[in-house]
């Protein structure tokens, strides 16, 4: 079963300072943790894809516009308090395992080595074979 684990950054749901305020060794520990996590998932044969997204400064919001050109809103979205920071796609045996992986990445270390406890949204990907109805 394939699951997408969405790392949803949300200012109101986290209680750690912005990355800009972290100490160098805290940033390094965080990067190290993510690399090890991905290497572990790959070694277990569970990693399908893992991607980080560029920061919201470079984001664009596009909306089609009846009878006219599409409307494109350019960043920076100073007011945006929530954004998708990145995702993993894992292929694992059970939802239980997907939740375990999400819990592990949610515990990525932040300032002072404390776990960030970032919310990770676990969504099943619609890749299951159809059943005979």
């Amino acid at each position: 079963m394939k699951y997408m684990l969405l790392m949803q950054f949300s200012e109101k749901n986290v209680d750690f300072p912005k990355l800009d305020e972290w100490k160098p060794e805290e940033i390094q520990a965080h990067i190290q943790f993510m690399k090890q996590t991905n290497a572990g998932l790959a070694a277990a044969g569970e990693l399908v894809d893992a991607q980080g997204l560029a920061m919201p400064e470079t984001a664009r919001i596009v909306r089609s516009h009846s009878g006219g050109a599409p409307v494109i809103t350019e960043g920076p979205f100073a007011e945006s308090k929530e954004w998708v920071a990145g995702w993993w796609i894992v292929d694992c045996d059970s939802e239980q395992r997907a939740i375990e992986i999400a819990a592990a990445v949610s515990a990525a270390p932040g300032p002072g080595g404390r776990p960030l406890n970032m919310p990770i949204e676990v969504r099943q990907i619609m890749a299951a074979p159809p059943t005979e109805l």
Binding site: Q32, K35, A54
Partner: protein, 428 residues
């Protein structure tokens, strides 16, 4: 640069464009020839290592791929006959593959003509790159897809659409004439440069295995250089690639982190590649007219010749950027020139050049990264931290974001009276 016996794979990939060339000339159908050769290559890759390389490997490939084309044409015709009840007679002898000992005459021209076709300006860069890697480079669709981290079906579609586009535009399979030669050769070199750069930057999927695109670009450029040894820009591009690739082993740390030029362990640079690159560029430069690839190679050579970062001949690099800015209007040259200016005349002079950046650079992460570096050199930590952060927020490369965030954090820690740091200024 790899020593020793050429492997079956090396041999196949050298022969691939020649065989596509022969069949395209014979049948006048590049798209079909390319598909047939791709299948013949797959056959050879499984058969040759087990059964031994045939006496005339090129003839073997021409024959096998030619047979596939014959089958294809026959079944196509059978289909048409059924559908249209028209007997389109094709004499079998006109469609048969050439004898196994056909000479290699024209093979070189075919490889070049194929490159000109695959890098034709009617194609987008992404299409030209994919088609070149498959037809000229002899890579499989799967390998190319893996290198660009897209699904194989997507890459297959990109390649077949590129071939359709060539067909629809009526671009002939032959050498461009003298009037079109410079522009067409520029397009070829640009595609090779992009392939190299994609491999060199390796900006996405840091943990995933990729076909080594930079090595493939060097191999292809080497082939073009062998065919056009007197073209100074071809030589310049090959030198630039070698001189850049030479620093590859020192560019990343043990955890895949970026190591900037000034901090690289120069003992890890590939001295063989440096010597070859310097030899090439030294021979090319006096042959004039000096183009942008030669100048960039000359700049890379100056960096590579310096035993330490401090010993870099910055006045010469600054002069070369002056020459480069007259041959090309790439805004990134402005940035590099500002760095060289700062190294020669001080950071304030470099920053002054960036006070009014060209529109293409506004908001670009590289502009912020360079400004940050120059502010740091000038001792203005606060401005440097702000620019490092701005750069980190705008880059699309994860290793680069890590690097820039660390630069900002290290400087901020020092500015805030954090733990002592024995690093020199300008080496964030």
């Amino acid at each position: 640069m790899t020593a020793g016996e050429p492997t079956v794979e090396d041999l196949l990939r050298t022969l691939a464009p020649q065989v596509v060339g022969v069949l395209t000339r014979r049948w006048g159908d590049f798209a079909a020839a390319e598909d047939a050769v791709q299948e013949a290559l797959l056959d050879a890759a499984t058969q040759w290592p087990a059964e031994g390389v045939p006496r005339n490997p090129r003839g073997w490939l021409v024959q096998v791929a030619g047979r596939r084309m014959t089958e294809q044409v026959r079944s196509e015709q059978a289909r048409r006959r059924r559908e249209e009840l028209v007997a389109g007679q094709v004499p079998a002898d006109r469609r048969s593959a050439p004898g196994a000992d056909t000479t290699d005459e024209g093979a070189d021209d075919d490889t070049l003509a194929l490159l000109f076709l695959c890098c034709h300006p009617v194609l987008s860069s992404a299409s030209a790159i994919a088609l070149t890697l498959r037809s000229v480079g002899g890579l499989t669709t799967g390998e190319i897809a893996a290198a660009f981290l897209v699904p194989e079906a997507t890459m297959g579609q990109r390649i077949s659409r590129a071939k359709q586009r060539i067909k629809a535009s009526g671009v002939p399979f032959r050498m461009p004439d003298a009037t079109h030669w410079p522009a067409r050769l520029d397009a070829v070199l640009h595609v090779l440069y992009l392939i190299f750069n994609e491999g060199y930057v390796t900006s996405t999927g840091p943990e995933l295995r990729r076909v080594e695109l930079s090595r493939e670009a060097i191999r292809l450029t080497r082939a073009v250089h062998a065919l056009l040894p007197d073209d100074a820009e071809v030589t310049g591009l090959l030198a630039l690639m070698l001189l850049t690739e030479a620093r590859g082993p020192a560019r990343t740390g043990p955890d895949g982190e970026l190591v900037p030029l000034a901090e690289q362990d120069r003992s890890r640079w590939d001295t063989g590649a440096i010597a070859e690159g310097i030899g090439l560029i030294t021979a090319a430069l006096p042959r004039g007219p000096v183009g942008p690839y030669q100048v960039q190679a000359a700049i890379a050579a100056v960096h590579d010749e310096a035993p330490t970062a401090a010993a870099t001949d910055w006045p010469q690099i600054l002069a070369l950027y002056g020459v480069l800015s007259r041959t090309s209007d790439n805004p990134l040259i402005t940035l590099n020139r500002a760095v060289a200016t700062a190294m020669v005349h001080g950071p304030a002079a470099g920053l002054a050049l960036l006070a009014d950046p060209p529109p293409a650079l506004v908001g670009h992460h590289r502009l912020h990264a360079v400004r940050a570096h120059l502010h740091e050199l000038a001792g203005d930590r606060e401005a440097a931290v702000a620019d490092y952060r701005a750069a980190a927020h705008r880059t699309a490369s994860l290793p680069e974001r890590h690097h820039l965030s660390l630069c900002a954090a290290r400087l901020a820690a020092r500015a805030g009276g954090g733990e002592p740091d024995d690093r020199e200024a300008g080496q964030c």
